[in-house]
Each structure stands twice: as C-alpha cells, then as structure tokens.
Symmetry: C2
Subunit: 199 residues, 2 copies
C-alpha cells in the first residue's frame, strides 16, 4: 500500500500556495493518503540566521520570486497577485489547521487562506478575515478561533515546527514520505511517485 | 522567429550539470538558438554576503541537495556522485568556454567538464585534467589553456559575471530570453517555451 504523503506548508509561503491548490486532486489520483503538517518557517529561518524571509533579505531572489510566481500561477490556472504585506503573519491560520488537521475541511480552509492571501491580497493575519473564511465553509469561525488559542494547540504547533527541523526541513512547501524529504512545489510529483512506490 | 536562449552556468553548480547534459537536445527540438554564458557564482554569492556555497553555509540545504541531485540525476539517466571537493574551482574551465563560447565544441567540452566533476569526481580545477578533456575532443589542450590565461579573456569573464549580476541572476543554472530570467534546471522547459513564443 502507498505510504502517506506528509504536506509541510507555511501560510506565508508563495510556493506553498501553488502546492495547496493542487495537492488534494493529485494525491487522490495517485491513491496516496495525505497528512497535513502546517508549520512555521520563522523559527527555522531564525536558526539559519535570517530574521526575515530570504526573499526580502536577498533582493535579487525577491525580484525573481514574484515574476516566477506570476508565471507558475498562470500556468496552473490560478489567480495571483503579490501581497502588499509579505510575509503576512500566519500564526492564527496555522494554529487553526494544527488543531484540526484531520478534519475533512482542513485542506479546504487552507486553500481559502492561501487564495485570500495570494490571489485577493486580504489580511489573513486578522481574526475577522479568518472568521469569515471559516464561516463561509459552514463552520463556527469564532469558536474555532477561540479554541486555537488553547495552550495545547500552541504546544502542538511548537512540536510540529520542531519535528520539521528534526526532519531536515529548511523551506516550504516540503513533502516527506516515510522519512524521505522533497522540497518545493516542483517536487510534488516526485514525492507522490515515491509514496506510490511502496505499493 | 524564436528568440535565443542564453544559458548561464557555473561549472561548480550541481544543477548546472543537469541542465548542461540536456539543453542541446531540448533547444534543437524546440528550434531555439542557444548562447553559452559561463560565469562565476563566487562574486555573486559574495555580494549576497556568502563566502562559500550556500549548500555549505546552510547544512540542511546541503544535506538535501545531494539527496535531490542523486534522485534527479537518476531520473534523467545520468551518472552522479557527490564530489569529494565542493565547490570545486571552476575558473580555468570557465575561462576556456568564455574564450570559445561560439565554437561548435564549446558545449561538448562543458558537458565533459560537468561529467568529470559530478559523475567521476575528477579534479577539474587542475590543468592536466582540463587538457585531457580537451585533447579527447580532438583539440589542442595545451594551446587552449595557454590562450585562456590571456588578459582579454579574464576581462571578458569579469564582464560576463557583471552582466549576470546586472540581469538579476543570483544562482545557477539560469536562463534568459530577451531579458526575462528563469532560474534553475526545473525552469528550462519554461524558458524554452518563452523563447518559442516569439516565433
């Protein structure tokens, strides 16, 4: 049987948006179970000596990023605009998915957050925006936001981010299959092939 | 008519190896003229504050690089082994291609250098190895090495590396088409599509 694909994503990461929008379909086609692993890049970048996104620290990389993102989004048929605030704070959305990663709506909510940030330039760091996105899925936004502030959720996210680091993750999106790491939206197909190879 | 594809590569760059081995066939199939732009990443990394390859500076990135390279090389049907010396000095080979970029043998020589470094772990920073690779192509290795030391060649390479920086290059391989930048072996197909779109 295929091994599960663990999808490590950060809501502020542009290329995580590209993967989030296509991973459910691809995993279903490949018959590969999906496990959501939202995490925070901040602590991982800090451990590499970066206090900001490398796309902001290294200007040439940053200029290129937005050109490449526009092209890749267009090729994937996705709406895209450069967020006016980058990287936009991802803590609240990440905590909500962490607390609900196994819920059937977790990936749909994640896609809604990514699209709000990278296609509509909405302030997904604000609770009222997150509440609206949850409500639109027929959920109780206020209640889920309140629950996401629970110390157990904060601790779970800290552990998830530590686990990311322990597995050698250094960027997002990343995919792990049975402990093997794949980095970047460009490697999603390769990661799925690897997951299927255990069948 | 298709615009030419400019291929910016660094002999010490692992992913440049992957592109160098397939670019001639792909460009010919796409009917896209190819221009070789060998350059040095050292000055470009130095301008970003890096005194070494980022794969050495950031250990997690380095660990991943060699796993990813092994997988990508296998998928491309290419021999690969991690060089015992990384990044291996690329100055001599780069000067030779700079001085002979329009020669019909320039890309074949480049492929030979990449394969020697990344498949056979040979010391391509040594003149005797470079001479042997040139001789094997029916060329006069000694004469070409002597000519590569000419001040005009050194100056041409300095200008090429400056041109890379001026065009926003920050890594290798890169491809430019009519001033538009594409970065990484994963974007070679996209760059060729763009070149063809001018037809």
């Amino acid at each position: 049987m295929a091994k599960p694909l663990e999808f490590w994503f950060e809501f502020a990461s542009p290329y995580s948006y590209l993967s989030a929008m296509r991973i459910e379909t691809l995993a279903a086609e490949a018959n590969v179970p999906l496990i959501l692993r939202p995490f925070l890049l901040g602590p991982i970048f800090a451990a590499q000596g970066w206090a900001d996104s490398p796309f902001n620290i290294y200007p040439a990389k940053g200029v290129y990023l937005w050109q490449d993102m526009a092209r890749e989004a267009e090729a994937a048929g996705l709406a895209f605009q450069k967020p006016t605030d980058f990287p936009r704070g991802s803590l609240l959305a990440t905590r909500i998915v962490t607390a609900n990663a196994a819920e059937p709506w977790a990936l749909a909510f994640s896609r809604a957050v990514f699209a709000a940030n990278f296609a509509q330039d909405r302030a997904v760091d604000q609770p009222e925006v997150i509440a609206e996105l949850l409500d639109a899925l027929g959920l109780d936004g206020q209640a889920l936001i309140a629950r996401a502030a629970d110390p157990s959720v904060k601790e779970e996210l800290r552990q998830q981010t530590k686990a990311a680091q322990a597995q050698g993750l250094f960027g997002a999106p990343s995919f792990t299959v049975n402990g093997t790491l794949f980095w970047g939206n460009d490697r999603l197909e390769r990661a799925l092939e690897h997951a299927k190879s255990f069948a």
